[in-house]
Amino acid sequence: MIIKILFSGDGGQGIQLMSDLICRSAIEQGFFVSHIPNYGLEQRGGVSLAFIQISDSEIAYPKFSKPDLLVILSQQAEERTKQYQNVECRMLNVGDFKTKLEEEKVPVQSFNIFFLGLIAKMLEEKNVLKREVVFGMLEKKLSAKPGWEENKKAFDLIL
């Protein structure tokens, strides 16, 4: 079993935070995990990418061109990830959730947390990780920082 996830968004939207929490939660479940970001000049263009693989055996190669799950947090990211969009891939595009996010008054800086909650739910259903583990790590990282109530709400919004 192997799941390939590609997170994409603008630099500063918290893509790497999302990756970190998903990865570490999957590790707690006993899976092999691999993560590689884009970097250097590429990253300076503004788009932050995270390639994540979760598997029940050793992961031989860190990158992939056909993600199973593609998460897009900005317009710029959508442009950048066109080459990764494919028929078999499940896409979560912030554009598709705009109305809901506006209705619930989720601040832009919490979009990544909303998606984190959504993905955590999806992956828990596949027994890849435990949602409460993700939340626990999130709480540890962000509860002392401003905006925690909004973040907490965003995480649980999908429920």
Partner: protein, 347 residues
């Protein structure tokens, strides 16, 4: 002591391996994608306790790679396990110091993190520094060069690099790349060997005169003949390779580093399709596992080289091949290669 699995990047693995190998000094200059080795070493050095023991880790960010390389030379001559890490244009500059290490048989350990070239190329990834790693200096180059294909191997070969550099006194390279350095994976670093002690070349107890320039051709010729002899003796003991599913294979893929990881997946897929494909992976690019390659090559119909370079591995293969076999390949200089592409080229 069995370690638990950790979630580490390549750079963190290198630093851990260097510390475990007994290295206590790093000289370096920032250059993507190798900078994190320097910054992580320096960060680790701020905390005095390493693995429960007080260890004194030292460092200097030098004014350029040239200074870093020569400081490593001075430091190892003083008997300290020092090392450096560099990439791309930095690897080019590093050759001045590495060639002095070649000429003076210094245990100069470096991590070379390949990125796109030539010139500034990309800061990302390639397998285009094979030639520089093995032959980058002027004159003859007798170096030990390891090419790890995953983080566990990165740890293991960095440990071996320090040991073998100090045991045999040839400049030793761990040849990695931007992808491996930036990948974070679950690894257990449970490779154990006994560390070789370092000794100073000169000290208060010696009176040595050491040179790297000679007045007469014969003097240099004689010295080089001895170096070559030493290298060949070392080769028997350190040469490393892996053959994967090569029994009765007709097409032999040859790949190194992380591309070999993708190649293994490709071999599995192709065999599922009923194709007789196997993989030969040189782990030491120098000394090259020539005998083993030829043994396997005897019974194959084609060799298929896969590399993120225009042909640096292919040229190594051809140099060492003594069997008449067709050599073809997939060459993608500075670009990553995934299993699917390899499968496609052989279908």
């Amino acid at each position: 002591m069995t370690r638990e699995k950790q979630f580490l990047t390549g750079a963190e693995v290198v630093v851990q391996a260097a510390i475990d190998a007994g290295a206590t000094m790093m000289f370096g200059y920032p250059i993507t994608p190798g900078t994190e080795i320097l910054s992580h070493w320096i960060k680790t050095a701020q905390t005095r306790l390493i693995g429960g023991q007080a260890k004194n880790l030292r460092y200097l960010q030098t004014e350029d790679e040239i200074a870093a390389g020569f400081a490593v030379c001075g430091s190892v001559m003083a008997g300290e396990k020092a090392f450096t890490a560099t990439a791309g244009p930095g690897t080019t500059l590093m050759q001045d110091a590495m060639s002095m290490a070649d000429g003076m048989r210094l245990p100069f350990v470096s991590i070379i993190v390949q990125r796109g070239g030539p010139s500034s190329g990309t800061v990302i990834y390639s397998q285009q520094e094979v030639n520089l790693a093995i032959h980058g200096g002027n004159g003859e180059s007798l170096r030990l060069v390891y090419s790890p294909s995953n983080l566990s191997e990165l740890y293991e070969y960095t440990r071996l690099a320090f040991n073998n550099a100090w045991k045999y006194k040839f400049p030793t390279v761990v040849l990695s790349d931007g992808f491996l350095m930036k990948t974070r994976q679950t690894v257990d670093l449970n490779f154990e060997i006994e560390n070789i002690k370092s000794e100073p070349f000169v000290s208060e107890n010696t009176q040595k005169n050491i040179r790297n320039i000679y007045s007469f051709e014969e003097e240099l010729g004689e010295k080089l003949a001895q170096d070559k002899k030493d290298f060949e003796e070392m080769a028997h003991e350190v040469v490393k390779f892996e053959s994967y599913k090569v029994e009765s294979c007709e097409t032999l893929i040859v790949a190194h580093g992380i591309v070999a990881g993708a190649a293994k997946m490709a071999v599995d897929e192709l065999q599922k399709q009923g194709k007789k494909v196997g993989l030969f992976r040189p782990i030491t690019l120098s000394p090259f596992p020539k005998d083993e390659l030829n043994k396997i090559a005897q019974s194959v119909k084609k060799i298929f080289v896969v590399e993120s370079s225009m042909g640096q591995l292919r040229d190594l293969v051809k140099q060492n091949l003594e069997v008449a076999v067709e050599v073809d390949g997939l060459y993608k200089p500075a670009e990553g290669i995934e299993a699917e592409e390899i499968v496609k080229s052989l279908t």
